[in-house]
Symmetry: C2
Subunit: 359 residues, 2 copies
DNA sequence: CCTATTTTTTGAATCGATCCAAGTCATCCG
DNA sequence: CGGATGACTTGGATCGATTCAAAAAATAGG
């Protein structure tokens, strides 16, 4: 019966080598995984047989089951896979993760969960020892799904409150205050905020109601930081237009249109991401408004592109690489504990902010 | 004895669920993998037990062994992992690979082989269905190692000749000719070439001897393309300085120093990579030489940064994304055949080239 | 040459699932 | 009521390795 299948090129297994070399599979295994405990003569014979039969070496699939450890960490997001290579924030983060993985020889498995069903499947079937989650959007779904794998995981940019998951974030309130203070000290009094989401699938001007029922506390905290600081300068924050975007071109431009269509347009824009800030710079300049001459802008994140724009972007920089490194290490030397780390931010003054224009 | 270990939290297996629910492991398996063939009542009972016992779902490690397919493709290079996120060429390539993987729901495993021993191990133990190799450097070692896995693989940027491996490349000769012709037609007569490697670990001016014994035929072809075309314009190619770099900042700058230290410095530089071309632009401008006023430069590759430099770079663009897509598809629908594809290049005129300065 | 050690080798057990041929059971039909 | 049909279930085999206690072989010591 087996003879009928001959020539079917069934891959050679370790057991085949063992049989051909006349040793037990235990010994054959040792030849590859612990050669030093096998008598030299036997070792060479087995190796020769393996070579001659075209054995590819112990199949990691088999080894894995026994070993239990994959030696790779999964990085997941709800964006398409290309997000990891396109998005500047993600790239810097990945560089940090890469560094930690390189240091220990671990691999990186990229997992995308762009559409609902596949998301679940990809997370469920990823061969990894743990996950790093980019919770840029639809984060709660991602967290829930990952939790079911019962593997260690760390959430990054986790927008919402959930004390049961390990996470690394930044001090949003402090960062936002820094940004607001800078602009206020430059004399600005008319502000607008380009905001990240307070809940999924919403864009447009934000009402106090929306803020109160925010799902994403990260967004809420940044806004709170802005407002606290501005209030300290005697500015009526209730009058500040806050436009919620999806952190991409279209909704951000829509937000700018809406903001500048109002009476009394702002001289200063607080953007909750560098992405939006950079889009804003383009939009304003295309509209003939000088940055920072007519309008000043402060971003948030500290992506490298911000240094290259014209004018270069003043921003609140997260220690992105360091966050990536720590996240990877958290998975790599996981000890079962839930850890939450809040990193400090750094205020980077570049060229997109200047004194408020004389009224 | 087992009781001594109780509380050790050994992860729950499918078999445990089966036993607890009073069904066979076969049925328990079906509950998760083919729920429709299990009677509703039984299915719910098993699911309830699983839920209650905190079962994480079928472990992919176990499933993998039986299924045989990982559903992930490995991307390997001899650079550190961060290369994939830092290098513009790699990033565009990865975007193409990502696209193809997203379309079929496959994952991407990044494998780095920065140091000798780990290289071997990482390649040997990567859980993937096939490899895409970035042969930017030390490519032959990478190819040899990968061949031993006996998994499908495609080599990208394979510098050397080896008809036994699947590879996707570009028409180097044609691309180089385009670049050379453009400059010659602009009236340039004094050239220099910033060259990629002809063999490993060499930098410096290249002799005909080096070219003749080239390991990297890609480099040789590009040079041949330049020379063929320039000869057609009656230029004595034997007098053209060709400086071999390691395609990074240091050796490229060294090359420029050496080239411009010679009598009769060039008015046109043919760079075999955009990377070198961009470094050259910086170097020249820092030196007070106008680009393209005093010196014109043509790159090779077509990385997106080239469009953003000052002046923007004239270059020979490879269809990088498309190469990535094809490479991924080659692995994804692998049929056992060795395939070699040569893609066309596109000539992109931007601002780094202009008429030769009046003598 | 025999016993005590030490070095190697063996082969069963395990890792965690899926697959499938064979078996069970209830239902339907003539 | 016997047999055919259909719907689930069962449990052994398998995927490809590693591990480890015990057996076997080699070596040392007396």
């Amino acid at each position: 019966m087996a003879s009928l299948l001959e020539g079917q090129a069934r891959p050679i297994r370790l057991a085949d080598i063992a049989k051909a070399a006349g040793v037990s599979h235990g010994t054959a295994s040792n030849v590859f995984s612990r050669p030093e405990i096998v008598r030299a003569e036997v070792r060479e014979r087995v190796k020769a047989v393996a070579e001659q039969m075209g054995y590819a070496g112990p199949d990691p699939k088999g080894r894995l089951l026994r070993a239990g450890k994959v030696n790779a960490i999964g990085v997941a997001t709800t964006e398409p896979l290309s997000y990891f290579f396109d998005d500047p924030f993600a790239r810097v983060m990945m560089a940090g993760i890469s560094e930690a993985c390189d240091a220990t020889g671990a691999g990186i498995a990229l997992v995308s969960a762009a559409n609902q069903e596949k998301l679940a499947w990809n997370i469920q079937s990823a061969l990894v020892d743990g996950f790093i989650l980019f919770c840029i959007e639809g984060g709660s779904r991602l967290v829930d799904l990952t939790r079911e794998r019962r593997l260690p995981f760390v959430a990054l940019e986790l927008g919402f409150q959930d004390e049961t998951v390990s996470a690394i974030g930044v001090d949003n309130v402090a960062g936002a205050r820094l940004a607001a203070r800078h602009l206020a000290e430059l004399g600005h009094r008319r502000f607008a905020v380009l905001s990240l989401g307070f809940a999924d699938n919403r864009t447009g001007f934000v009402t106090p109601e929306v803020v109160r029922s925010a799902v994403y506390t990260g967004t809420r905290d940044r806004l709170a930081g802005y407002f606290e600081e501005l209030s300290g300068f005697g500015i009526d924050t209730a009058k500040i237009p806050v436009y919620e975007t999806e952190n991409e071109e279209k909704s951000t431009r829509a937000g700018l249109e809406a903001i500048f269509a109002r009476a009394d347009p702002p001289t200063a824009i607080l953007a909750m991401s560098d992405r939006m800030a950079l889009i804003a710079i383009d939009w304003l300049r295309a509209r003939g408004l000088a940055v920072p001459g007519d309008v000043s802008i402060v971003g948030f994140d500290g992506v490298p592109d911000g240094a290259l724009s014209t004018p270069p972007l003043t921003t609140i920089a997260q220690p992105i690489t360091e966050i990536g490194r720590r996240a990877a290490r958290m998975i790599l030397d996981h000890d079962g504990a839930v850890r939450r780390e809040t990193m400090g931010v750094e205020f980077v003054v570049r060229g997109s902010t200047g004194p408020a224009p004389k009224a």
